[in-house]
């Protein structure tokens, strides 16, 4: 019976995160629109879009793997969610977090990318091949400083459990990792820019360069699945950073404010900078973020 209640809370958490993700994305669009001197889309737009996409059917076929791409992607996003503790001390909103969940979540981050790469490759579009090679190159270098930051805080807190890392940061703002381990936070926050793929790191879809491929070939329900994943993933990745570096959240309001601000960082950078080329992006992650990550590991090893 307890597992059923737990599952219901997990589904409730997923529902909240999905809707908050859509609210967060439309809020960002509104903020960017206001900076640009526009009104932007109405607040209900993402729900309308999602409903419309799920109500549409595809009439052509690109092969099974092509259609499994978005499914893998969604599995990655939901996988991260399932093992992510959301609210500190909450028995039900801690999801299925366990002692080594941090490693599993890092794996799930790459899982979705790989699935998407397989699906996009199946489309046969040369643009997809370019996008996939760019995406995997960038994500590999994004993961390096992030992994070093994670290793550093794992050594610092002597655990690979996100719940224990969050618990160790309770008791005051100065206990947050951002103050106790600023190098790891710096490395991770810079990686975050790449993980969210806003400009200057929006190389995979790369409007004006290689826009043909997954963004246009995945449509109808498949695009709906990708949009659903994006809404979940953006929040849950922000929650991961919140848990690791900013003291976690003791309630939903705190979670929403913190994850909103973390996500906003990448949007803020995105509106102020143009896009890198892939080699520039890779080199950028292999310089300052990697160096910060190495320093963070050396300090705590």
């Amino acid at each position: 019976m307890e597992i059923v209640i737990k599952l219901l809370y997990v589904l409730l958490g997923l529902f909240i995160i999905l809707n908050f993700g859509m609210f967060m994305s439309v809020s960002m669009r509104k903020i960017v629109a206001r900076i640009a001197g526009r009104n932007g889309v109405p607040f209900y737009q993402p729900w309308i879009d999602l409903t419309r996409l799920y109500a549409t059917r595809d009439s052509i076929s690109h092969g099974i793997m092509f259609y499994l791409g978005p499914v893998f992607r969604l599995s990655g996003g939901v996988g991260i969610f399932l093992f992510m503790p959301l609210i500190v001390g909450s028995q039900y909103f801690s999801n299925f977090s366990f002692a080594g969940d941090l490693i599993l979540i890092l794996y799930f981050q790459f899982f979705g990318m790989l699935g998407m790469a397989l699906g996009a490759s199946e489309s046969g579009s040369p643009h997809s091949a370019i996008g996939v090679s760019r995406g995997l190159s960038q994500f590999t270098t994004v993961e390096l400083p992030l992994t070093l930051a994670v290793i550093s805080i794992a050594i610092q807190y002597n655990t690979l459990s996100i719940s224990e890392i969050v618990n160790a940061q309770q008791g005051g703002i100065m206990n947050w990792t951002v103050f106790t381990n600023p190098f790891a936070t710096g490395a991770a926050m810079l990686s975050l820019l790449g993980a969210f793929s806003h400009s200057p790191f929006n190389l995979i879809k790369a409007p004006n360069e290689i826009p043909i491929g997954p963004p246009t070939e995945y449509h109808s329900t498949f695009l709906g699945v990708l949009r659903t994943n994006a809404a979940i993933l953006h929040v849950i990745e922000a929650v991961l950073f919140m848990n690791l570096f900013f003291g976690g959240a003791t309630n939903w309001v705190e979670l929403m404010i913190k994850s909103f601000l973390i996500y906003f960082t990448s949007v803020f950078v995105g509106v102020a900078f143009p896009r890198f080329k892939i080699e520039q992006s890779v080199q950028w992650f292999l310089k300052v973020p990697l160096l910060l990550g190495i320093i963070a590991v050396i300090i705590y090893s």
């Binding site: 960017v32 900076i35 640009a36 001197g37 526009r38 040369p126 643009h127 091949a129 370019i130 400009s199 200057p200 929006n202 790369a206 409007p207 004006n208 360069e209 290689i210 826009p211 043909i212 509106v271 102020a272 900078f273 143009p274 896009r275 890198f276 080329k277 892939i278 080699e279 520039q280 080199q283």
Partner: protein, 403 residues
């Protein structure tokens, strides 16, 4: 076609040091590309592609991320403008000719009107000259408000474009006041212009110009001092000095290569000899230099509009006496007239056989040379990520190519 050696000194990680996969150059200078070898991939940018300006396509052959061969394709827009004009009265040609460049239509009506006037020896009134110059500079301003920040837009920094489009709308509002039309104006007609300035126009224009001054400061901060923008544009798409004449490079693209060329200075028309400004040139001739030259053009255009507003007469005749336009037979002859559009020298060659309709109208638009032969040359060795940036830096307008 020549394949340049990559400068490995600047390439920290020496990403593409092995160039054995690149095509051999045949004796005729063409690259020897065998698509069945699987070393190359062919992709199309356009005709429906956000990275292509207007209705044209680029056929790109890639080796990895690098373009080894590029071919421009047009033919998606051809409506036979020039041929259509041969069957219409001169006055009926005006609504047609403005479609030759949607973004900057006023130069077409000015040049066609001036062709008619030169063929029939008509001298237009002084006030009409100032009003024509005002209309042309407003058209240049409306174009530059899109193209200057648009260069950053090609690299996904679209904020400046959105600010610029808003201001462009304010200029279109003023065009609507002056001419009755927002995009196509048909304000300049043979013998002069269609109307005087509306009441309070100068004050409203100055209010918009003040906003554009603020916009210029903002885009300097956002774009031209931006480290990544510089990184993406400096040293990219370089037009060598020897290419300027051989490829017919004009306007901002030539000025960025160090050639102080501006039809308004070299062959003054209307009232430009009474205005005070300097030609801004740079030498590096890359995408960044061309952006800076257009940035300077924006500043100069705002300044010129202010000078025109201050110096222009408040009233007076705006049209010379002309025959009835429905029965106007233009004397036999031929003429080439030119003006400086935002893209460079823009000229009309008009032949009259003495009838009511032109025998031949031929447009010399800068896009024909810039977007076909020059672009194909500049794209070789370029990264796929730079294709759009290089194309926009040449400021192409496909309807000009397909006349």
């Amino acid at each position: 076609m020549t394949i340049k050696k990559m400068d490995t000194k600047k390439n920290l990680f020496n990403w593409t040091h092995d160039r054995s996969k690149y095509p051999e150059i045949k004796e005729n200078g063409e690259a020897d590309i065998d698509l069945t070898s699987h070393k190359y991939v062919k992709i199309w940018h356009g005709p429906n592609h956000p990275g292509v300006t207007g209705n044209m396509a680029l056929e790109l052959t890639l080796s990895g991320d690098e373009v080894v061969h590029a071919k421009t394709h047009v033919g998606y827009l051809h409506r036979g403008f020039e041929k259509l004009m041969e069957r219409r009265l001169y006055i009926q040609c005006f609504p047609t000719c403005v479609r030759l460049c949607v973004a900057e239509p006023d130069y077409n009506e000015y040049l066609l009107a001036r062709s008619v006037e030169e063929l029939d020896n008509i001298e237009i009134p002084e006030a009409a000259k100032w009003l024509r110059a005002l209309s042309l500079e407003m058209a240049r301003l409306a174009t530059l408000l899109r193209t200057v920040p648009g260069q950053a837009g090609t690299l996904s920094l679209g904020m400046g474009v959105q600010w610029g489009v808003y201001l462009r709308d304010l200029i279109l509002d003023l065009f609507e006041e002056l001419t009755g039309g927002r995009v196509y104006h048909m304000y300049i007609i043979p013998g002069g212009v269609r109307g005087l300035l509306p009441d309070g126009f100068k004050k409203r224009m100055e209010e918009v110009l003040v906003k554009i001054d603020e916009f210029q400061k903002k885009i300097d901060d956002l774009i031209f001092t931006n480290a990544i923008f510089k990184k993406r544009t400096i040293g990219i798409g370089v037009i060598e000095k020897h290419m300027v004449d051989s490829y017919g490079v004009v306007g901002p693209n030539a000025r960025a290569a160090g050639f102080a060329r501006d039809v308004r200075k070299d062959y003054p028309y209307l009232i430009y000899d009474q205005l005070d400004w300097d030609i801004f040139t740079l030498k590096d001739s890359d995408v960044y230099s061309r952006s800076l030259v257009r940035r300077s053009d924006l500043r100069v255009t705002v300044d010129l509009i202010r000078q025109i507003m201050a110096k222009m007469p408040d009233g007076g005749d705006i049209r010379a006496q002309t025959p009835n336009v429905l029965h106007w037979q233009i004397p036999k002859g031929e003429v080439y007239v030119r003006s400086e559009s935002s893209r460079g020298e823009y000229g009309y060659y008009v032949v009259s056989d003495g009838s009511k309709t032109p025998r031949r109208v031929n447009l010399r638009g800068p896009s024909y040379t810039h977007a076909v032969v020059l672009l194909e040359k500049l794209l070789v060795n370029a990264n796929i990520a730079d294709v759009h940036s290089i194309m926009v830096s040449l400021q192409t307008c496909p309807p000009e190519i397909e006349r």
